[in-house]
């Protein structure tokens, strides 16, 4: 099975996602340049973190028009697993594959630090080997990670069990003090209604080795590998 890591002009964490999947997990991984028109037979697509197009206009707003995105959208529509990390999350919001938008962190500053997130939903390709309510120590590094959606849309997300990760404290309590950026309802990550497109602001690829401070991020990639190994099971819609 193969991970495809899309590289936009300005992507930075593409190398980190590649290192985690290929060197730490021993999976097959490949870079896909944003001008490519296909995904080269990828089984999982990762939209990595960084500052695609310098965050000009709005974060992710220009990347969403890159030639490769046509293939990514088709792949997602067909039920293929897509993981958006940080800037990747922002790009997916711009495509409309995920609802809502990102505001500036309430501190109005870029923040790089370890946070805790709780896994809320196991029925996604990227959390299926986690345990219910599992607390992961993963770093964030963003200036615009304050997730926003109107209240009725948030209610719908909750009703459809689309909130996959929430910021929490070390014990797993979702409290405001544990919310680093002011995200609505402590939302750190979401999935689409089809449950194959998952995105989160924290960087699991930075938490795959204890030398990096935490290996809690492994579960995200291990889930994808496990999911695909079990005979190409398609998740219920």
């Amino acid at each position: 099975m193969k991970f495809a890591i899309v590289v936009f002009p300005g992507s930075n964490c593409d190398h980190d996602a590649y290192y985690a999947t290929k060197h730490v997990l021993g999976a097959d991984a490949e870079f896909v340049w944003h001008k490519e028109l296909g995904l080269q037979g990828a089984d999982v697509v990762i939209l990595p973190g960084g500052f695609s197009y310098g965050d000009y206009l709005r974060t992710g707003s220009i990347a969403r028009f890159s030639p490769v995105m046509a293939s990514v959208l088709a792949f997602a529509e067909a039920g293929g697993p897509v993981l958006g990390i940080c800037n990747g999350f922002q790009i997916l919001l711009e495509t409309g594959l995920l609802p809502g938008g990102m505001l500036y962190n309430r501190s109005v500053k870029f923040q790089c630090e370890q946070v805790y997130v709780r896994v809320e939903e196991l029925e996604t390709p990227f959390t299926c080997t986690a345990t219910p309510g599992q607390v992961l120590r993963i770093p964030i590094a963003h200036g615009e990670g304050n997730y926003f959606a109107p209240p009725d849309e948030l209610d719908l997300l909750e009703a459809n069990r689309q909130v996959v990760f929430r910021y929490c404290d070390v014990e797993g309590a979702v409290v405001d003090a544990a919310n680093p950026n002011g995200s609505a309802r402590g939302i750190a990550g979401l999935c689409n209604k089809q449950r194959n497109v998952v995105a989160l602001m924290p960087h699991p690829e930075r938490a795959c080795e204890s030398a990096m401070g935490s290996a809690d991020g492994l579960v995200v990639f291990e889930s994808a590998i496990a999911q695909l190994k079990s005979d190409g099971m398609v998740l219920p819609g």
Binding site: P9, D16, H23, G50, Q111, M212
Partner: protein, 747 residues
């Protein structure tokens, strides 16, 4: 041609004598474009005319040195076929005028200096100085500078892994922004900034040229006064996205061998890059400015040659390989335009279409820049300021209250407010947690890691420039050794006042001597660096502030150390024998409000032995943490070891009691006095015996012993407790020292 009058010369920062030299070199009067070229190339910033004579005394060679001073950055061999390319540079004057862009473009500039050599940048550090945060303008400058450093570094995806920030009134009108960058290259694959091969095309790549930053080099070569805000147009504007594209494209190009040489366009833009590349190769360069991509209309050749628009590189390409080069840059959507050619007539020739607007012998421009041995004179303030009567100090506060005050002082307090704004983890190489000591990055594909520290103390150098500079070298190297790394190379950034004043020149000369002496003793070659003069406003100079960046190598990354006591069952040793002195100390300034006295002496031999011992013990896995005593002395260092440990405390026992003079002064000297070559290490109880033995063999004295545990920080002298403070209170004071200046902001 316009006549050159004295007003023009002053505007260009050229003296009468320098003008005479121009006439001799050209054999005629210079054109306006030529005057502009000479003015920037012969500015202090570009020519180092006041400093070269002193800098040449520094040690620049060593077994590991692959590239010494003279190129865009220095380089040392780190093993496994890898070379570390690094340098530190200043962007002081622009950061006062326009803090965000001044700092951002400082970061951009040093990054280009690294990747132009063929090295992928993997770490950034910075050394900053500001005035007091009680001043609103200073808070604004700090916010702008930190946002600018973060804005550029985060966007381009290079982690900021360490640094230092100090606050002294002396820097109020002259903040210092020194930025360090380190990159990795394959041995034997470094790319030089040298032009060669008559007929080879000269390429311009990157952003379009505008009018920003013209005379940035000359601005950095003069002091500020009331009209300084008018200098705003001279500050360049940075675009980290553009530089990310440029970086990737250049590194991709360097995989081929189509490139002869490459240099970034930094200070003095096109002028500096063309003349330096030409003179290094002993060749001429002939360019046509009408071919330069421009983003503003009606630019004159003068403006095009002097523009400091960011994110541009100059390349010399092997004739016949142009298509390859252009294809790579097109992939990254960048301009790559042939603007000229290498010649063998040794002239820097600038055309505007058909007419030649400048023609200067290249070698004479770069290599025959003015060279001054400026007069030096011992400053008048020195004798008085060294006088310190400890017995005449007012009654000193209790040790606990003094420690809390120091922990909350800007010198010592946690800088979390700052480094939280820097991405220190991108590229997943950072193995040292932020804020715990030297920055450490692993080298993927090997077992090794590199540790880096930037250090300097202007106040020490104000009191004693020679010793203060030596202490800065020792401190930076010691911080690297405390991470378990062997120091192998250094770069320096020398921040001083007006060199035309003999007292400033005296400070400079003494400091350079001190750096040289310390580097020789510690076997640390200087591979390059930067000098920033004219850091003064209305005749008031900053403290002389040499900043050292030291790089060290850890053979096995898993043996990396930081400052935190790891467990509540460890033994503690204070290695190193010097006694703390209050002269020039943070305690004396923060608690007694005085900057005076003499610094504790430094034995370079003892320092070297201590550092070697630390590296050896770390490599053998025999110590769990290491932290040196610096600002605030022993008590502060001990407290810092307890922070981020989950609340575990420590007890330290010194064998002898305080003696001589007033008890409160004697105790304060022991607890808070400063002296070099002292490190606190923690050791597993089971390793204690073997560590003691190794320390003895190394000839390093043990000044005190102790153990971790409990939830209090205590220090006893001959069994008498003189400090007793809860870790919780100490840590709380330490965490809020900077935060409290920014409480009115949103969470």
């Amino acid at each position: 041609m316009a006549t050159i009058d004295s007003k023009t010369l002053d505007h260009h920062g050229l003296s009468r004598e320098e003008y005479q030299k121009i006439l001799e070199i050209l054999g005629r009067e210079p054109s306006p474009t030529e005057i502009g070229i000479f003015s920037v190339m012969w500015s202090e910033h570009c020519s180092y005319k006041s400093s070269r004579i002193h800098l040449r005394t520094l040690p620049t060679t060593g077994a590991r040195v692959v590239q010494g001073p003279g190129e865009n950055a220095g380089a040392v061999d780190v093993g496994d076929g890898l070379v570390a390319v690094f340098k530190i540079e200043s962007h002081n004057h622009p950061s006062f005028i326009e803090p965000y862009q001044g700092a951002a473009t400082g970061v951009g500039g040093i990054i280009r200096d690294i990747f132009t050599m063929g090295a992928r940048p993997i770490a950034l550090l910075n050394s900053l100085r500001f005035g007091s945060l009680n001043d609103a303008k200073t808070r604004g400058i700090l916010e702008g500078v930190v946002a600018g450093i973060g804005g550029y570094g985060n966007s381009i995806g290079i982690p900021t892994v360490g640094g230092e920030i100090l606050f002294e009134d002396t820097y109020k009108g002259n903040p210092l922004v020194n930025v360090f960058c380190l990159g990795l290259a394959q041995a034997g694959k470094l790319v030089m900034g040298e032009a060669s091969g008559a007929g080879n095309p000269v390429y311009y790549v990157g952003a379009k040229t505008g009018r920003d930053g013209i005379h940035g080099a000359t601005m950095a070569s003069a002091e500020f006064d009331e009209q300084s805000s008018e200098k705003r147009p001279a500050v360049q504007v940075g675009d980290p996205f553009m530089e990310k594209l440029l970086l990737e494209a250049c590194l991709e190009l360097m995989q081929t061998n189509a490139l002869v040489g490459i240099q970034d366009m930094g200070a003095a833009g096109l002028t500096c890059s063309t003349s330096e590349m030409g003179s290094r190769g002993g060749v001429g360069i002939d360019i046509d400015v009408t071919r330069v991509p421009q983003r503003e209309s009606g630019m004159t050749p003068y403006e095009i040659m002097l523009s400091e628009s960011q994110e541009r590189m100059l390349m010399v390409v092997h004739r016949g390989r142009e298509a390859e080069v252009e294809r790579i840059f097109k992939k990254w959507d960048l301009h790559a335009v042939s603007i000229g050619v290498v010649t063998d007539d040794g002239q820097l020739r600038v055309r505007e279409g058909d007419s030649v607007v400048a023609e200067i012998p290249n070698g004479k421009l770069a290599d025959e820049a003015p060279f001054y041995n400026r007069p030096t004179e011992i400053p008048g303030y020195l004798e008085q300021v060294r006088h310190l009567d400890l017995e005449a100090l007012p009654v000193l506060p209790a040790a606990e209250s003094a420690l809390l005050k120091l922990l909350g002082s800007l010198a010592v307090t946690s800088k979390h407010w700052v480094y939280r704004q820097y991405d220190h983890m991108v590229r997943t190489n950072t193995i040292a947690p932020a804020g715990m000591g030297a920055g450490v990055v692993r080298l993927k594909g090997t077992d090794r890691a590199l540790a880096i520290s930037v250090d300097g103390n202007g106040r020490h150098c104000y009191l004693d420039p020679h010793l203060g500079a030596m202490l800065a070298v020792a401190e930076a190297a010691r911080n690297v050794a405390c991470a378990g790394a062997l120091p192998i190379g250094a770069t320096n950034c020398l921040n001083f006042g007006n060199p035309e004043r003999p007292e400033i020149m005296w400070q400079f000369a003494r400091a350079v001597e001190g750096i040289g002496e310390a580097c020789r003793a510690l076997e640390l070659p200087i591979t390059g660096g930067n000098v920033s003069f004219y850091n003064e406003t209305d005749g008031q100079a900053i403290y002389p502030t040499p900043v050292l960046g030291v790089v060290g190598v850890i053979e096995n990354a898993s043996s990396v150390l930081n400052r935190v006591f790891p467990s509540s069952q460890s033994a503690i040793l204070l290695l190193g024998g010097g006694s703390g002195v209050l002269g020039g100390s943070e305690y004396l300034k923060t608690v007694c409000g005085q900057v005076a006295g003499s610094l504790a002496p430094l034995s370079l031999d003892s320092e070297r032995r201590l550092q070697q011992l630390l590296v050896e013990l770390a490599a053998a896995g025999l110590i769990q943490s290491a932290h040196d005593c610096s600002d605030g002395g022993l008590a502060v260092a001990l407290a810092e070891c307890c922070f981020d440990s989950g609340g575990a405390g420590a007890d330290l026992m010194m064998p002898d009691d305080a003696s001589g003079g007033r008890t409160d002064v004697a105790e304060a000297s022991i607890l808070f006095g400063e002296a070099p070559s002292r490190v606190l290490v923690s050791i597993a109880e089971s390793d204690f015996g073997i560590v003691r033995k190794k320390v003895e063999i190394a000839g390093v004295p043990i000044a005190a012993q102790g153990q971790t545990g409990g939830d209090r920080i205590t220090i006893s002298l001959a069994g008498r407790k003189v400090l007793d403070l809860s870790v919780a209170d100490a840590e709380a004071a330490w965490r809020q020292g900077m935060e409290r200046f920014f409480v009115n902001r949103a969470a």
